[in-house]
Amino acid sequence: MSAAPTLQRLERVLLMVPWLLEHPGVTVEEVSERFGVPPADLVRDLDILGYCGLPGYGGGDLVEASIVGDRISVRMADFFSRPLALSLREALTLLLAGSALAAVEDLPESADLASAVAKLRGAMGADARLAIDLRTPGDEHLEALRGAVRDRRVVRLVYRSGSKAETTERLVEPWAVVGARGAWYLHAWCRAAQAPRHFRLDRIRELDVTREPAERRPPETPQPAAYTPEPGDESVVLELEPGATWLAEWVVPDTLEELGGGRLRLAFRTPSVEWVARVLLRLGADARVVEPAGLRTRAAELAASALRHYA
C-alpha cells in the first residue's frame, strides 16, 4: 500500500475521533457520509483505532472503539478530544475565501464573514496579509440577481451592450453571478439571442425579477466569462506602443510579436469591431490598425464625431 492513503486515513481518524467522542451512538452511515469515507474503510479504521493507546498498551491504556449493530462508540481517547489545529494551508484558504466574499459589498453574509475572518486571524499564529478590493459599479444588482438565480426566475434586463454600444431590453434566464477579471457578470440564457450570454452588471440599466419560472437548466460546468472565438468573428491586427500593450492581456491573442522598444504587434479575434474601435479612442497615438480597414474607418468616424463636441 502506498504512503499517501495511509496519511489520508490518519488525517481522517484525527478529524473523526473528536466528533465521535462528542456524538456517542451515531450510525456508520452518518459518519460515512459526513467524512466522505466508504463504510468498509470506516469499519477497518475504527478496528485499528481499537489497538492504539498509551505505551504499555494494557487494558486501561487502549482506546475503546466498537460498533454495536450499526452504532459507533469511541471512548478512552481523551488525547484526541480536539481536532488537530488548522494547518497553515487550511487557515490561509479559509481566510482567502472569507476575506474575498467579505469584500463584496451588500451581501447579507458580509458582516458574518468579516467577524469569522477576524476570529480566524486571531487564532492563526501567523500574520497573513491580504488586501482585496472587489468594489465595482453595478454590484448593487448582485443580491437581486442572486435571488433570481436561487428562485429560478426570468429576469427582464435593460442592458447597454458593450459590443454594439446600444441599450436594449431583453428577457434572460439567470444561471449564476460570476466575478472575474475585475467585473461581475450575470451568466444567463438570453431569450433574444437564443444563446448563453454574459452580462456585465455595470452595464445593466434596469432589472426586474419577474414571476415567470426559468426553464433552461444551467450547464453542468459553469462557464467562465471568457471569450472563445466563433465563426464570423473579425480578425484584428494592431501595432501597440509600450503604453498600450496592456491590451494584449484583455484579449485572447492569436499571435503576439515583439517589435523592439517594447512595441507589440497583436493579432486577435473579436465578435465586436465596435468595442475595439472605442478602445482605440482611448489608446490615441499608442495604437495603429493594421487590419481590418472597417475598424480604421469606424474609429475615425467615432473620433471625428466626438471631436465636434470640443470644437
Partner: protein
C-alpha cells in the same frame, strides 16, 4: 507486522501524552509498531513517520531532556496540537462555507471546515447549496505558495517577466498579497532595489522558491489595495461632464449627486475621477456620447487622444 496507520496513531498518542521528551531509543522500545527492527531500519522508519506527520501539521518538536542539553528527545505540545476554540457562531460558519463554495476553494480547504464544525456545528444546508449561484474567480498562479511565504515571513525568489521586457530574477520579502480589479499582486521589498515594489502574479515565470528562513525579516508596514498602482498625487478628484440622453443613466452611476438636464436633452454631471487613466478609459468608451468639460487638463487629454486616434486612422487611410 503492524499496520502503518496503527504505528502512526500510537506515535502521536505517545508523544502527546509523555511527561518528558522521548528519546529515539525510548520510542523504539516503547511505541507499538517499532520494537523489533534493528536500529538503522528503525531510524529510517522513524524519520519518514516524523516528516509525514509534520507535513500533516502534527507539531513534533525536539526538546532537551535536561538542563545541560546533552541529550534531546521528541514531544508534541498539546497546546500546539489542539485546535483552539474560535468561538465561531453557526451563522459565521455557514458564511465561511458559502465563501468556500463561491470561490471554488471548497476542496482546497481540505479538512479545515470540518475541523471548525466540531465547535460551531454544521453549516445551514439551505444557505450553502452546492451551486451557490455566486462565483468569484480568485485563481492565480503561485497564490498559495506566496501566501504561505508571506504569512511565515520567508523571502522568495522567482523569475519575473514584465510585458515587453526581458525576464529577470527577483528576490523579494513578501509583505502582502493584494487583489485589485481582478488581478493579484505581491507587494514586497525587492532586495536588488532595496525598495517596496509590486509584482503581478501572472507575470511570474516558473517556480517560486524560498530564498531564506521563515521569520527572516521583521513585520512589514501595512499594505493597502491602492499600494499596487502609482498614486496620482494631487490629481483632480472630480470632473464636469455632459452626457447624451442615451447614456445619462450610466453616467449617473459615477456621479456625485444628481444631474442637471439641459434644454438640448443632454445632462451635466459632476463625476468622480479616481485614477486619471481609469477615468479616461471610461469617458472615451462612451465615445461621442460624453463630453469632458472640466478640469482643463483632462479635457485636453481627451481631445489629444481623439485627435491622435483620428489622425492615426486617417493617415493610413490616405496612404492607400
Amino acid at each position: 507486522m503492524t499496520d502503518r496507520l496503527e504505528r502512526l496513531i500510537n506515535l502521536v498518542i505517545a508523544l502527546r501524552e509523555t511527561r518528558r521528551p522521548m528519546t529515539a531509543e525510548e520510542i523504539r522500545r516503547r511505541v507499538a509498531g517499532y520494537g523489533q527492527d534493528e536500529y538503522e531500519a528503525f531510524r529510517r522508519m522513524f524519520e519518514r513517520d516524523k516528516s509525514d506527520l509534520r507535513a500533516l501539521g502534527v507539531p513534533i518538536e525536539m526538546a532537551p531532556l535536561d538542563a545541560f542539553e546533552t541529550e534531546s528527545g521528541y514531544r508534541i505540545d498539546p497546546k500546539r496540537y489542539d485546535l483552539p476554540e474560535l468561538h465561531l457562531e453557526p451563522r459565521e460558519l455557514t458564511a465561511l462555507a458559502l465563501a468556500l463554495r463561491a470561490t471554488g476553494l471548497y476542496d482546497a480547504a481540505g479538512t479545515g471546515l470540518l475541523k471548525l464544525q466540531v465547535d460551531a456545528g454544521d453549516p445551514d444546508a439551505r444557505r450553502v447549496p452546492l451551486e451557490p449561484g455566486l462565483g468569484l474567480d480568485l485563481g492565480a498562479p503561485h497564490l498559495q505558495a506566496l501566501m504561505e511565504a508571506q504569512a511565515t515571513r520567508t523571502p522568495v525568489r522567482f523569475a519575473y517577466r514584465p510585458l515587453g521586457r526581458d525576464e529577470a530574477q527577483r528576490t523579494v520579502d513578501p509583505h502582502a498579497l493584494v487583489h485589485r480589479r481582478g488581478r493579484w499582486y505581491l507587494v514586497g521589498r525587492d532586495h536588488e532595489r532595496d525598495a517596496r515594489r509590486s509584482f503581478r502574479l501572472d507575470r511570474i515565470a516558473g517556480a517560486v522558491k524560498a530564498a531564506g528562513e521563515p521569520g527572516a525579516f521583521p513585520p512589514p508596514p501595512e499594505v493597502g489595495v491602492d499600494d499596487v498602482v502609482p498614486t496620482a498625487e494631487g490629481g483632480p478628484a472630480t470632473a464636469e461632464v455632459l452626457a447624451a440622453p442615451e447614456v445619462a443613466w450610466t453616467v449617473a452611476r459615477r456621479a456625485r449627486g444628481g444631474g442637471r438636464e439641459r434644454p438640448d436633452g443632454w445632462t451635466a454631471f459632476t463625476v468622480a475621477v479616481g485614477e486619471p487613466e481609469d477615468f479616461l478609459a471610461w469617458a472615451l468608451d462612451l465615445g461621442p456620447d460624453l463630453v469632458v468639460e472640466e478640469p482643463a487638463e483632462l479635457r485636453a487629454e481627451v481631445v489629444a487622444r481623439l485627435r491622435a486616434a483620428a489622425a492615426a486612422t486617417a493617415a493610413v487611410e490616405g496612404a492607400r
